[in-house]
Symmetry: C2
Amino acid sequence: MTSAPGAPPDPPAVPDAELLRLDHQVCFSLHAASRAFGGLYRQALKDLGLTYPQYLVMLVLWEEGPQPVKAIGERLHLDSGTLSPLLKRMEAAGLVRRERSRSDERSVVIDLTDAGGRLRDRALGVPRSVLAATGLSLEEVIGLQDVLARLTVALGEAVDGG
Amino acid sequence: MTSAPGAPPDPPAVPDAELLRLDHQVCFSLHAASRAFGGLYRQALKDLGLTYPQYLVMLVLWEEGPQPVKAIGERLHLDSGTLSPLLKRMEAAGLVRRERSRSDERSVVIDLTDAGGRLRDRALGVPRSVLAATGLSLEEVIGLQDVLARLTVALGEAVDGG
DNA sequence: CACAATTAAGTAGCGCACAACTAAGTGTCG
DNA sequence: CGACACTTAGTTGTGCGCTACTTAATTGTG
């Protein structure tokens, strides 16, 4: 911290042009890292027939059990515009079932099929191979995850409130 | 570091199921952070009529000058399948020109139009507002950028070589 | 009860990312 | 020179992510 939280912003110690250059680096790094991760998972998940976002959905279902679309969306910060077609593809692949809730006909509950449940066993090796590929220690990964999580919260608030 | 670089891997101190749970966290965090950044930039760039990837291209052109598509792709880790339509949209928006190189008719050189060059002045304020929204100090941002850059290199090598 | 407001899911359209393929230009080697 | 591999862009198809909109069910209110 260069100043107390809530204090007026420091006078810019770095000129705009310099910040633009730094932005180049940061933007690119985050964008590229995200896509590089995607590429790594794409490779690791190819045998399972899953894409990266589909894997995220499976992780939720494996850990939390049957969930309405809404709940999955909140977990993954995705809306129905993304999830509906994605879940339909997963249904077509035989991984999940989609059933209208009897208690609330608006919501659709997503549940694993037997095949979807069994896939977890084959997915157990994925994280370790990914971790190995990062070249990071478990501690570094956890630290990174922490920074990113805080960042996501801060960015979400900035977008909503700004 | 839990062991010297290059040493045989430690026996797994963490069971697969636990790693799968952690993977849930890390995957999600990176994915969500990347998209949250995208949302923030989308908002900041709306007035400029640029998308986030288009902004990345502009950053390259502002700093490096005219570049063949190939060079831009290497900078941003994007291939022609992504860049060709993107650059056509930017041409249609009047930001860039696309011209076949005389010395090598295979390559297409991308150059800023006057409007594209002028846009830089209006983009100068973007990084500062984004930085403010992150809630991070400049030092933290630079640290994050460094981790992500190393990660991208490691992941790229893992994908290529694995 | 009738009504509007809210909520959940889905659909359409655009842009990006990636894989696989095509077309055209360049360079090399026999 | 001509056959060949290589390089550079572009195209096509699939899936993701977002915005905006639609539909249907529920809730809240008079």
